[in-house]
Symmetry: C2
Subunit: 267 residues, 2 copies
């Protein structure tokens, strides 16, 4: 039996740069599938492509419309290949309509000088927290073991929110060895910041998400089925949209990804 995540991002080739995929009931969201898995499937088209050069460095996806349950067609087309970098244009179509656009960069990375200035948050370990503590009003949340250390979804929607920062541990449930596709999905694991900031549950949905990957295949493999610690917060919420920035570290403290999204909210 393959992992539900592998089933959710599985693609079959339909021709040059074209793949068929399908939404997975295991990752259902309020409307359509969890956006993180859709982003991961788009990246999977790059990862599966026979002409790919290097590992993912950057991924942007725009959610143009909620996906319908069922089949979709993905295009992942390399539009420019340089000596060590390659640029990709992504699109998902359902019933002749564009439901996702995106771009990606892959690159052959070389050893260089380096510095990580943002350390992992110092928080209680996942074992000390004991068990998953994020309410699962939608199916996809059950596909992760999420242990929030601070900034949980409010228990009382009393409009008394004060900040937008959440820190949490997360890994696939059941555990699964980390790869670029699952890391891309994990970048979207933070619930909408407006719920926390406002302590009011308003409709909200990501419209555009960009993730940068700061490690290569070998460093991801070293994480294996281990925990990631993540932190997300927002700078500003105004006139229907807010930003949400996040970071994901390995339990050993390596910053694996930085991610940003702009999210629509109502009222």
């Amino acid at each position: 039996m393959s992992h539900p995540f592998d089933q959710a991002v599985a693609l079959h080739p339909l021709g040059e740069h074209r793949y068929g995929g399908a939404t997975s009931a295991a990752y259902a969201n309020m409307v359509g599938p969890f956006g993180g898995v859709t982003a991961a499937a788009a990246l999977q088209g790059v990862l599966d492509h026979p002409a790919r050069l290097g590992d993912p460095v950057s991924l942007t996806v725009n959610f143009c419309a909620a996906l319908n349950d069922g089949a979709y067609e993905l295009t992942a087309r390399p539009v420019r290949t340089n000596r060590s970098t390659q640029h990709w244009v992504l699109e998902i179509v359902q019933g002749g309509e564009t439901v996702l656009t995106g771009t990606a960069l892959t690159a052959v990375r070389r050893d260089t000088w380096g510095a990580q200035d943002d350390p992992a948050p110092r928080v209680l370990s996942p074992n000390a927290l004991g068990k998953p503590n994020m309410a699962a009003p939608v199916e996809w949340v059950r596909r992760y073991d999420i242990r929030i250390t601070d900034g949980a979804i409010p228990r009382v929607w009393d409009g008394a929110g004060e900040h937008s920062r959440t820190t949490l541990w997360v890994r696939d449930e059941p555990p699964r060895a980390l790869d670029f596709a699952s890391l891309a999905a994990l970048c979207d694991v933070f619930f909408p910041r407006v719920w926390l900031r406002r302590a009011t549950r308003v409709p909200a949905g990501t419209v555009s998400m960009t993730s940068y990957f700061h490690v290569g295949q070998a460093e991801l493999a070293a994480v294996g089925e281990g925990w990631l610690v993540g932190r997300a917060e927002s700078s500003v919420m105004r006139n229907g949209y807010f930003d949400q920035r996040g970071q994901l570290w390995s339990q050993a403290g390596a910053l694996l990804a930085t991610t940003h999204q702009v999210v629509y909210y109502k009222e």
Copy 2:
């Protein structure tokens, strides 16, 4: 005489979704033009488009190759128009080769609850700082009045850098009323964080940049020719790439844009 910025982002229609533009010597960078102006020109194609719905909310551009001096062709194609949002796919081609890919989101924004949690940095005013203080090794820097309050380009390249944070005032030089195109360009005004962090001048270039705009046309018009205060820093530099996140506020303290890029560096 129009402002050099208007000349630099001027487009002429070539057909449906297609525009002609040209690089501007006034905004020349080390190799090719200042990326901020190229991003702005790509957005200008959206702004000029007769089918545009709403104001820019999100813009992602990928620099696939340095532009050559001279003419280019821009495609700005609306691929999905919803009730209040519109998704765009962008491409710049020179000599039959893709040199830029991108996506954008425009939206009709409505009055909602809001909160700005990141205040503008409290720093000396631009008048107190007195005059531009950023070295201008390349032409485009002369098109801005940049007054760095902390985190200047190192005067001595001694490898003794400690952090990557720069705070600065900036406006167009000569002054020009702020609009979405100039704000998109200003998002790229921060010099590569690796120079500061490392106090070593290595080749570096933006490969992908995403900017979110948090205000509408009226709030931009209210800024007029006023100063913006900006801050940028990096989380991690590793194996040839680093992230760079930035924020731009009006002098009155409104957060106008949040921006992120991933930057290539050598050695």
